[in-house]
């Protein structure tokens, strides 16, 4: 209750989610893969026919890293919003867990770690498909598996912050259309971020985690140096740490009464 730091017991929370996942993975993992492929086909090959190469990069190869980054985001964000909310509110799983020697902090960190794991699993599944389509360069793109972890932690933490504050499952759609959707559009995903007005570029880099993730992801799949690679990494690290602390505090406030 008050002796609150996170011990290795956090792995049990992760394991519990993993255990459920093994039983339901077919249902939970095919849709995100198809989602990514639809995007790639519709944009990369459909729209791509009308779009000239961007800085010498054909459009499908330009969009592919963004599709992966969005997939990384979705995998953990949806896990810790809708997934965690269902566990917390409907299944009362967290109540059951904090009655064991596990602390609430460990439950929360375990949820975020699990969200990040889903991002990594997603990346592991989508990479071969993109490799077959020939839209990513190898072996550099394999580093996306590593990038998926901080990316997943970050979006998992953001998701839990919303879960901690949402009054009901319906209101979880607010952060989605007020934050996730605009971010998906202005983060250098479907067109270069440089084509936006410079103020919006600043907003994107200051506030939009996806912009940093896309920037790093694109450098990896195109095997080119990231223009602001270090800044992107630093930004992701600092914000991830901050978001995780906020998520734990908010969830404590909600659950420890």
């Amino acid at each position: 209750m008050t002796d609150g730091w996170v011990s290795w017991r956090v792995r049990h929370v992760w394991e519990r989610n993993f255990h459920v996942f093994v039983r339901t993975w077919k249902v939970s993992f095919l849709p995100p893969l198809f989602d990514s492929l639809f995007f790639l086909v519709a944009l990369g090959y459909g729209l791509g026919q009308f779009v000239p190469a961007i800085d010498g990069v054909e459009y499908a190869r330009f969009v592919a890293p963004a599709v992966v980054a969005i997939g990384i985001m979705n995998a953990s964000y949806y896990e810790t919003t809708y997934g965690s909310f269902v566990r917390m509110y409907y299944q009362k799983t967290f109540d059951a867990l904090i009655a064991t020697p596990v602390t609430i902090e460990e439950v929360i960190v375990g949820e975020i770690l699990w969200g990040a794991t889903k991002s990594v699993i997603y990346t592991a599944l989508i990479l071969p498909l993109l490799a077959v389509l020939g839209v990513i360069s190898l072996p550099g793109s394999l580093l996306l598996l590593v990038l998926a972890l901080p990316g997943g932690l970050l979006f998992g933490g953001i998701g839990l912050c919303f879960t901690a504050r949402t009054p009901s499952i319906d209101t979880l759609s607010y952060p989605q259309f007020l934050f996730i959707t605009p971010m998906m559009v202005i983060s250098g995903t479907f067109f270069p971020i440089e084509s936006l007005p410079v103020q919006i570029q600043w907003v994107a880099f200051a506030l939009m985690p996806l912009a940093h993730l896309v920037s790093l992801s694109r450098a990896l799949t195109l095997a080119v140096p990231a223009p602001m690679g270090l800044v992107n990494l630093l930004w992701l690290t600092v914000v991830t740490a901050g978001v995780m602390v906020v998520a734990v505090r908010q969830m404590r406030r909600r659950l420890v009464v």
């Binding site: 209750m1 008050t2 394991e15 299944q91 109540d95 009655a99 064991t100 020697p101």
Partner: protein
């Protein structure tokens, strides 16, 4: 003297302005079945949640096995099993998996967890449902599994919040029987219930709570004999009956068209009632915990 399983002194729980538990003191000894009785909103669940170290106390002292709940929650939680009012099983998992996955949170290794799970499945008569996902279980089976799960760490203290509420009589009696078996093996059982007749039969000691305060503590039979005459005469509230009682100055309580008169010797009153009033209905029974409960907490609806 041995360290009590639970020792509370002036225990307080506040939610904003609401005082849910208002200075409660009680002792639960090791190896007894101890009941929390009281109307809804009396503070039973809040008290149990503080004992289970899932809800911080707002004041007073609370020790479980001699350990302070604020300082040693992990150590305490390792030794207790909790069955909450709401079903919080994992709906995606089978009966067996629910047990073994939960065991991991207590650092029980896989082989040992599987062994204990099989044992508990038998103990709670769930053998045929071992591999069934829990969404296909009946309410009684789910409750049995929830209790089984709370025993996976071989707890010294089991805390159950209304373990028999909403179940049919067969399911209820099975649960009581298992809880007693558990007590006979040396575990301490702490529970809340609305079934006063069951509490009277199965609890070694109990408290009755109302509005955050403990009204009485003790053995059910002692509580009844200390507070009530031995018998309750129940009869129709006809004007003749009321007139007789008023005339003789005999205390009575009126519930709708019935009156209850508690007496130590029923025969003289019954004879007079029969001969002077010939009421349509006359019934003599022993005073029960329910009579004490209603007298202490009142008959008005609580929520």
């Amino acid at each position: 003297m041995a360290v009590p399983a639970i020792q509370a002194e002036g225990l307080v729980k506040r939610f904003g302005d609401l005082v849910a538990v208002d200075g409660c003191s009680f002792v639960v000894r090791e190896g007894e079945v101890f009941g929390f009785l009281g109307p809804n909103g009396a503070g039973k669940t809040s008290t149990m949640r503080m004992i289970a170290c899932v809800s911080p106390k707002s004041g007073g002292r609370l020790r479980v096995f001699g350990l302070d709940v604020d300082r040693y929650p992990r150590e305490i939680k390792a030794q207790i099993g909790v069955v909450s009012q709401e079903n919080n099983l994992d709906p995606d998992l089978s009966v067996f998996d629910n047990l073994v996955v939960f065991a991991r949170f207590f650092e029980i290794d896989r082989t040992e967890a599987a062994r204990r799970a099989e044992e508990l499945i038998d103990f709670f008569s769930l053998r045929e449902k071992r591999d069934t996902p829990i969404e296909y279980l009946s309410g009684g089976m789910k409750r049995r599994l929830t209790i089984a799960r709370a025993l996976i760490n071989r707890p010294r203290l089991v805390i159950l919040d209304e373990p028999t509420t909403g179940l049919d009589p067969q399911a209820r009696s099975l649960i009581w029987e298992r809880l007693r078996a558990l007590r006979d093996r040396g575990s301490t059982v702490l529970l809340s219930t609305h079934y006063l007749e069951e509490a009277e039969r199965f609890c070694d000691r109990l408290v009755i709570m109302d509005r955050g305060k403990i009204l009485v503590e003790g053995r059910p039979d002692e509580i009844v004999s200390a507070r009530m005459n031995r018998f309750v005469v129940e009869t129709t509230a006809t004007p003749e009956v009321i007139a007789l009682l008023e005339r003789e100055g005999i205390g009575y309580e009126r519930f709708g068209d019935l009156v209850h008169i508690t007496v130590d010797a029923a025969e003289p009153l019954v004879q007079r009632l029969v001969s002077e009033c010939s009421p349509a209905r006359l019934h003599v029974r022993s005073a029960t915990l329910e009579d004490v409960f209603l007298r202490l907490t009142g008959r008005g609806l609580k929520d």
